[in-house]
């Protein structure tokens, strides 16, 4: 694997302009001061209660995601490009979803094989012909971006279902402003604090027609045991909306109500952080205790808006991913601004043969996996793991895709042996409302804390950093 592009010390080891001030500051700051601040940050996170649960881990069910105090800095110029690309991609995703659940032009044009849609478990036939307010399916997208050189951004994943992590974008900033006011004041960092307000106006803008002029928004969580529960409660508080669980809601005459001390109150927009499968036991999984019986029928009747819409999984499915450049061109008639990572579709015999021959170099992902689980990273895997994957691939090739092992860019990060480069990715949050697509200048930077590791997922030992977009 090639040497990774470092975002502070560029390809030739030259200091990149966005990092000049940080580099100066690092030279002035003794290493033990950094360590001291790191401990302070950890204390603050604990006090605020920003923890997450790791499934299947009985030892400590509430853990902190490690926070790295060195900010990741992106220049204004880079951001402008990224922003354009993200908006373009999100627009295309929404048009794609409308098409898939309506006219299916893209299938008729032969750009995507039918069975990839219709036999896909995340395709929701319930949504066929169903209109959603303002044709917005994905109100909140968390598009994962990686880079391998100074000039190109790649989309790694389009998270179009219930992307999480935005609370870290907001809280990391608060912590940085609190712990490093000086460093902060030496930069001109675009603020992220408007996100809750933008999210609220986005959600209100897509209220159903039958809603009053002051639509009621609620945030639906699976409950306190969910790994992202902190984020759900944090966002509900910032938005000033009720944090509801399935049991707080009831459907009557195809309208959704929440049970309050003053009786039933109609809910118009539900920002749901519950997966499709668990939304409504009458439509989806009958064993779901998290959902609300009848919710889908209220949704179909157009009396409640779900954000994101039901069935958006078909747009961020890893099997569909490889078609995204064509999707962008098809709907917008534009060249995609953000690149796709080259992807081998193991369902295609030619690609499969190549993948089987090069398992040691590739990253192989389960089409329906997430969170960094069920993934093979060839160069880091043992022979036995590779052979196990080979068997899996042969048995069920359509369940996998493969990608080259990208040399993800690195950023300076605090480690036990001082500052060292560690691989990072970026998840900006794109909001689509009735009128516009907007992105707060920032995002969640995830960092793989283990030396050489490319896995940034928090469930797999990843940490986070504050992301600074410079205003230039």
């Amino acid at each position: 694997m090639a040497v990774a592009f470092d975002e502070m010390n560029g390809p030739q080891g030259e200091l990149r302009p966005a990092y000049e001030e940080l580099s100066r500051w690092l030279k002035e700051t003794p290493p033990d001061a950094l360590e001291h601040r790191r401990q302070e940050a950890e204390l603050l996170f604990r006090r605020i209660g920003i923890t997450f649960a790791v499934y299947g881990d009985s030892e400590s069910t509430e853990r902190l995601i490690p926070f790295d105090v060195i900010p990741r800095i992106i220049s204004g110029k880079e951001w402008t490009l990224l922003e354009k690309g993200l908006k373009q991609r999100t627009r295309a995703i929404n048009m794609f979803l409308k098409d898939i659940y309506h006219g299916r032009e893209i299938l008729r044009a032969g750009l995507i094989p039918d069975d990839l849609i219709f036999q896909n478990p995340v395709f929701r036939p319930e949504m066929n012909g169903q209109d959603v307010p303002h044709d917005v399916y994905v109100h909140i997208a968390g598009i994962d971006i990686v880079r391998t050189n100074p000039d190109e951004f790649f989309v790694l994943e389009d998270n179009a279902r219930t992307p999480s992590g935005v609370s870290y974008m907001l809280e990391n900033r608060e912590i940085m402003m609190r712990l490093f006011p000086d460093l902060f004041a030496r930069h001109r960092v675009a603020p992220v604090e408007k996100y809750p307000d933008e999210l609220l106006s986005c959600l209100r803008s897509v209220a159903p027609r039958s809603a009053s002029t002051e639509p009621t928004v609620a945030l639906m969580t699976p409950g306190v045991y969910n790994s992202a529960y902190y984020e759900h409660s944090f966002l509900a508080d910032k938005l000033g909306v009720e944090l509801v669980e399935g049991r707080d809601l009831i459907v009557k005459n195809d309208e959704v109500f929440m049970r309050t001390t003053e009786g039933l109150k109609r809910v118009d927009v539900i920002y749901r952080r519950v997966d499709d499968d668990f939304l409504d036991p009458l439509t989806f999984r009958p064993d779901s205790a998290l959902g609300v019986p009848g919710l889908m029928s209220a949704y179909m009747a157009g009396n409640v808006t779900l954000a994101n819409a039901v069935g958006t999984g078909i747009a961020d499915d890893k099997a569909i991913y490889s078609y995204m450049p064509e999707v962008v061109k098809f709907y917008l008639g534009e060249e995609p601004i953000l690149k796709n990572v080259p992807t081998w579709r193991c369902r295609e015999p030619g690609d499969l043969a190549y993948v089987l021959d090069h398992l040691g170099e590739l990253v192989v992902k389960e089409v329906h996996g997430s969170g960094g689980y069920g993934m093979l990273i060839g160069p880091a895997a043992t022979k036995a793991t590779i052979e196990a994957f080979r068997d899996k691939l042969k048995r069920e090739p359509e369940g996998f895709i493969a990608q080259p092992t990208l040399a993800l860019s690195t950023c300076p990060t605090c480690t036990e042996s001082g500052l060292a480069p560690r691989h990072v990715d970026l998840r900006p949050f794109v909001l689509t409302g009735s009128k516009n697509v907007s992105i707060v200048a920032g995002g969640l930077t995830r960092v793989a804390l283990k030396e050489g590791s490319l896995v940034v997922n928090s469930s797999q030992g990843g940490g986070t950093k504050d992301t600074w977009i410079l205003d230039e």
Partner: protein, 314 residues
């Protein structure tokens, strides 16, 4: 009780409240000045910090221009500024000492430890922004502790009521001063000419009265300037709103009146101001002129201070 004791309790609470307000103002200003110009425009936020603290004229007798270094110094640590945080804490301790027996042990401990910490840890001011941040947090925690101690430990008699009077009168004054300096950002929809730049000014106003999250819970809406004005002026659920302060002032004055068996100008005046707030709505206020309304309020509030002093404290 002795007039002097009542006066000390009243001023003690005012000083602590003012110190906290100054700390919040500095914090909110630091935050807004750290923003790139494209988000905040070219206004001098340090100037408006001085204005909201009501010390602008005195400041310019010493300094040429308002910038972070000298405004922070002047508002936080200066001995030349009679209402710097430092002097507020010192005055609060002085007041506490002379009415030591009217305070509970917890209240005295809070003020005295704050003063000791001021002497030991902060005699040289704050050298860095990190230190300043710690200082401002220390001030706010002192105020929280003081307020909590009073609430939890004081007998509910005139000593308590006078201390509450000081707190709410000062609080009303502080909120009104922010409104006085920033009223032009809070005009109704048809008069509002601001652009996206104002957003961060609004959050800054809300932050300085710790009402940013409260706003969303009250209105369940994105930030609207006229609603911010409504929240800070008329909404009596927000502890720092003018309406809430006057609700409390009237209640505490009434309790004093009942306990003394006698009412006076203070009760009548406070009730008058509260009734006006109760019967106002933002439309009328905007029509009447937001700025005029606030200035009248500030004058009324300061008149109440004078009347209380005349009736009880001297």
């Amino acid at each position: 009780m002795l007039s002097r004791t009542a006066e000390n309790l009243y001023w003690l609470a005012r000083y602590v409240e003012r110190a906290e307000y100054l700390a919040r103002t500095i914090e909110a200003t630091l935050r807004v000045t750290a923003l790139p110009n494209t988000y905040i425009g070219q206004t001098n936020e340090w100037d408006s910090a001085l204005l909201t603290a009501g010390v602008s004229a005195a400041f310019y007798e010493i300094y040429e221009e308002a910038n972070e270094t000298n405004v922070v110094e002047y508002l936080s640590f200066s001995t030349a500024n009679p209402s710097s945080i430092r002097n507020c804490i010192e005055a609060a301790r002085l007041n506490s000492r002379s009415v030591r027996t009217a305070l509970t042990g917890e209240m005295w401990d809070t003020i005295n430890s704050a003063w000791l910490e001021l002497q030991s840890a902060w005699s040289g001011g704050a050298k860095t922004r990190e230190q300043l941040a710690n200082f401002l947090r220390f001030v706010q925690e002192t105020s929280l502790r003081f307020d909590g101690s009073a609430y939890r430990t004081m007998l509910r008699n005139d000593a308590y009521w006078f201390s509450r009077l000081g707190l709410h009168l000062e609080r009303a004054d502080n909120t009104a001063r922010i409104l006085d300096v920033k009223y032009h950002l809070l005009l109704p929809e048809d008069e509002h000419v601001g652009g996206p730049l104002d957003y961060y000014q609004w959050t800054s106003i809300l932050r300085s009265v710790s009402a940013l999250t409260a706003y969303h819970w009250v209105y369940r809406e994105t930030l609207k300037p006229w609603l911010i004005a409504d929240l800070l002026i008329l909404n009596d659920t927000l502890p720092r709103s003018l309406a809430s302060c006057y609700g409390n002032l009237v209640r505490n004055l009434d309790q004093i009146g009942v306990s003394y068996g006698r009412q006076g100008a203070a009760q009548r005046h406070a009730r008058g101001v509260r009734n006006r707030l109760e019967h106002s709505n933002m439309q009328d206020i905007f029509q009447h002129g937001l700025h005029e309304f606030i200035q009248e309020f500030i004058a009324d509030n300061s008149r109440l201070g004078d009347i209380i002093a005349k009736q009880y404290l001297i």
